[in-house]
């Protein structure tokens, strides 16, 4: 059986699944339930200075739903902890003592003054927590007070605060990044320069999920007004994956450990984050949607898949796909694929036809010999994969590589050599291919 034990920057946990800093990790009661359910670790809900903050007393969440009200994206306007610092610290200390084998990291957010950080670091150290995570991500509320993403959006601040922390504590420091920036590598580099032990990403994305068309105000609506919130859940996974990969494939950051966060809902999501560079995983929305039990599926699924593929440890998967993340210009333009529809699986809904006909390349029939039939016309198919994605039946349409003969669309012979845009004749900036 695969060994799921995780050692992330020296913090050990029985599996790589941690709960992200958020309501599920808000207090002792939740965290104990999470450990009982099998979570490998938690990042405690972000602590701040006293007097503690308050939350709105109305709705905090909005959501995007898919079919059958499956929750696809969650938006929140919650702030950091709204409980007294001492209460949190006492609970953290007790929980760590009772659950020594689980990871317990404490998330922190205090004003951008060194003394504030020195004060809170000392208090956290006394709890025996395993490490700290600097919340430079919170995109709403806290940022209006010069904290959270207001810090995370200025690389110099990130570097400065990270350095203060490294200089004032023995605990490992994880810097949590906000996705609300243009180039995720810049804050990651800043954290690295400041001496961070790791980065974690992503925090939530600035968002308005919907508008109440009766009140004419954003949802969630509090007394007739709404403010933007932070977006998370399955919908943000693609954005998070890309950001994780961008950092992982930057040579200067190759050694910087990454805690992957953002929309992780199943074992497969987890495996994908690991493959693109994460060393462990943090989850929030999946737990908030389905409860702590979801971790059982994540653990089982990851373990079974690793067994099947012959991986025995998390380290063997981590970063495995990073070398294959490429710039567009290096993709092989001689690679030719055509869609193929399996007529035995086809239920004849016609979605592939209308998608290709109306919006793409007119490469799928709707009639053959007077009967309803959907077939790919190789002479027209550019291999774009749209039909595969709109087909409701999994694996009914597949993309098949052409390895020999002539591409009926271009009438050019299949060329098994590799050639990319950098040498393409249509590229004004091309470099001549080596002779």
């Amino acid at each position: 059986m695969a060994d799921l034990r995780s050692n992330f920057i020296g913090i050990k946990s029985p599996n790589p699944f941690w709960l992200a800093s958020a309501p599920p990790t808000d207090k002792e009661y939740n965290v104990v339930r999470a450990y009982e359910a099998g979570w490998g670790g938690v990042v405690w809900k972000t602590l701040g200075e006293d007097p503690h903050l308050v939350n709105v007393n109305g709705p905090r969440y909005g959501a995007i739903h898919g079919a059958d009200r499956r929750l696809l994206g969650l938006n929140n306007i919650e702030l950091i902890t709204d409980r007294p610092l001492q209460t949190n610290l006492q609970e953290i200390k007790r929980v760590k003592k009772d659950w020594p084998d689980r990871a317990l990291v404490v998330s922190l957010m205090v004003p951008c003054e060194e003394q504030s950080w020195i004060n809170i670091l000392k208090l956290v150290e006394e709890t025996e927590a395993d490490g700290i995570e600097l919340n430079f991500g919170c995109p709403h509320g806290m940022s209006e007070r010069g904290m959270g993403s207001a810090v995370g959006q200025v690389p110099e601040y990130i570097e400065m605060v990270t350095r203060w922390c490294k200089q004032n504590t023995r605990m490992p420091v994880i810097v949590k990044l906000t996705p609300n920036i243009t180039d995720i590598r810049k804050p990651a580099e800043a954290a690295n320069r400041g001496g961070a032990d790791a980065v974690s990403l992503i925090n939530t994305i600035n968002s308005i999920v919907s508008v109440d068309l009766d009140q004419m105000a954003p949802i969630p609506t509090v007394g007739g007004k709404g403010s933007h919130g932070g977006y998370c859940g399955p919908a943000v996974k693609p954005i998070a994956l890309n950001m994780v990969a961008e950092i992982a494939r930057t040579p200067e950051l190759a050694e910087l450990p990454i805690s992957g966060i953002g929309g992780i809902t199943t074992w497969r999501d987890a495996a994908e984050f690991l493959a693109l560079g994460a060393g462990n995983l943090q989850v929030c929305t999946a737990a908030m949607t389905y409860g702590f039990k979801v971790v059982e599926e994540m653990i089982d699924g990851l373990s079974d898949w690793m067994d099947e593929k012959g991986y025995s440890s998390i380290d063997q998967i981590s970063r495995k796909a990073v070398p294959n993340v490429s710039d567009w210009q290096h993709l092989n333009l001689n690679y030719i694929a055509k869609a193929k529809i399996n007529q035995d699986l086809c239920i004849e809904c016609g979605r592939c036809h209308i998608a290709c006909e109306d919006t793409s390349h007119q490469a799928i029939t709707n009639m053959v010999d007077g009967a309803r039939k959907f077939e790919v016309i190789d002479e027209e198919c550019v291999g774009c994969n749209l039909c595969v994605n709109v087909c409701p039946v999994e694996d009914c349409i597949t993309m098949e590589q052409m390895t020999e003969g002539v591409d009926p669309r271009t009438n050019k012979p299949i060329d098994s050599s590799y050639a990319n845009w950098t040498t393409h004749p249509n590229n004004p900036q091309r470099v001549d291919a080596a002779e």
Binding site: A67, D68, I347, E348, C349, G350, R351, H353, N366, P392
Partner: protein, 446 residues
């Protein structure tokens, strides 16, 4: 009561005199949204092509899924103004739902009929305004005979174009078989009358109840006094078994019984029975068998002269009968009615078989006892009113029409059950009314 039943929203029953529960109560909002999400929004959707009135099914389902049931209902009414009754009585399992691609995917079609009912009920219960406005008056006058599905659909479509429509209806109530024929458990709460009123809300249509073609007027009168005539008279006659003793008071025409049942205020007014035999294999046979069970008969048997696959009732309806405790006996041809004075005792049948594709009676006999026999072997068209003075061309004893529902007479159209080659379905009758209206409008605008 389960949560799902509690969620039942706007269409809870009020209960008539003889109360039948709705066969399928209306979907709640939640159920409708879940089911609507299953629709794939197919290209050139097979369900739409399978619907005799070509309702844009993917569109109306998408409208339900986007929380727009009113728009969904309008999409339905656009093709089928009687979408409400059709949602209740259409054998969807052999129409739209049979064509649903989900049958291929997981053998469970999207419940199009239920969704259609959800949308049309929503509209009729919650929207006060009629969905259409009449075009400016054309001054043209149209006579329609019969206020059944064919006649009403035709009337609505023509009035919409600005023509003035008069409907002559022999009976006291309008609606045709929707009122007098459809099984009580398929259309509870006086739905047929509600739908008639909904259609009349458009304006421009006046119904004269108690006026019978052939008695109160002749076809020639109508043809001369109106710009166009549409005949939607349905089938008024009853087929006969041709057996001795068929006049026995406990050998009853099923359609007539269903009608009496629909109109009766207490079940004591109707013949009571312990053991019921139903002769026939169609929808009417199934309806009367189920209703007999619901009314308390201990033993109900449908006797059909061919095999179960040849029955006109769909397999879904056969299953419905069986789950209600109705027994289906096949390959039985009626031979003798057994009775002792007023007491009906049963029926002797010859067993039948196929001989080179032909149905033949064998010498084997089977006797089934019963104290009530229903004949559900079909209705026929009474030709006199349309042949006495005008000689409309007939075919297989029904009115002959072309693809536009036009008869051989210069300004007379016909549709629904009374024309040859039809399907004897409510929805097909609505389509005929629609086709005729389109052609009449073209004729009048020419």
């Amino acid at each position: 009561m389960g949560k799902a039943a509690k969620l039942q929203s706007q269409c809870a029953g009020k209960g008539g005199a003889i109360h039948f529960d709705d066969l399928h109560p209306c979907y709640s909002n939640h159920e409708a949204r879940v089911e609507a999400d299953r629709c794939y929004f197919c290209y050139d959707a097979p369900c739409m092509n399978a619907c005799p009135t070509s309702i844009d099914i993917p569109l109306f389902i998408r409208q339900i899924s986007t929380d727009n049931p009113k728009g969904a209902a309008k999409t339905i009414f656009e093709q089928n103004i009687m979408g409400g009754i059709c949602a209740r009585v259409c054998p969807t399992e052999t129409l739209c739902e049979e064509a649903c691609v989900r049958n291929d995917a997981e053998e469970k079609p999207v419940k199009i009929g239920h969704l259609q009912r959800f949308a049309t009920d929503f509209f009729m219960d919650n929207v006060a305004a009629h969905p259409y406005e009449r075009a400016a008056s054309t001054g043209k006058k149209i006579a329609i005979v019969g206020a059944g599905p064919a006649g009403l659909a035709c009337a609505h479509a023509l009035s919409k174009e600005g023509h003035d429509v008069t409907v002559f209806e022999a009976r006291e109530k309008s609606g045709g078989l929707n009122e007098y024929g459809i099984a009580a458990y398929k259309a509870v709460d006086d739905f047929a009358q509600k739908e008639v009123n909904f259609i009349l809300d458009l304006g421009g249509i006046s119904i004269e109840n108690g006026k019978t073609l052939g008695r109160d007027m002749t076809l020639e009168d109508l043809s001369n006094s109106y710009d166009a005539v549409f005949l939607g008279m349905g089938l008024g006659g009853v087929q006969s078994l041709g057996l001795v003793g068929e006049e026995h008071p406990r050998v009853i025409d099923a359609a007539r019984y269903i009608e009496d049942l629909r109109q009766a205020s207490a079940k004591e007014e109707l013949p009571q029975a312990k053991s019921v035999l139903v002769i026939g294999g169609g929808m009417t046979a199934v309806d009367v068998a189920i209703q007999s069970k619901l009314l308390g008969a201990e033993q109900v048997t449908i006797a059909y002269r061919r095999g179960q696959e040849q029955m006109n009732a769909s397999s879904y309806e056969q299953e419905l009968a069986q789950t209600h405790g109705v027994q289906i006996s096949t390959w039985l041809q009626p031979k003798t009615i057994l009775s002792d004075g007023d007491q009906l005792e049963g029926m002797v049948f010859n067993k039948t078989k196929l001989d080179g594709g032909k149905l033949v009676a064998t010498d084997d006999e089977v006797t089934l006892s019963a104290d009530l026999i229903f004949k559900a072997i079909g209705q026929n068209f009474i030709t006199e009113p349309v042949t006495i003075d005008m000689a409309l061309e007939l075919e297989s004893d029904r009115i002959k029409v072309d693809g536009n529902c036009k008869t051989n007479a210069k300004n007379i159209w016909a549709g629904g059950d009374c024309v040859a080659g039809g399907e004897d379905l409510t929805v097909a009758s609505v389509e005929d009314g629609k086709i005729a209206a389109k052609n009449i409008h073209e004729f009048l605008s020419a």
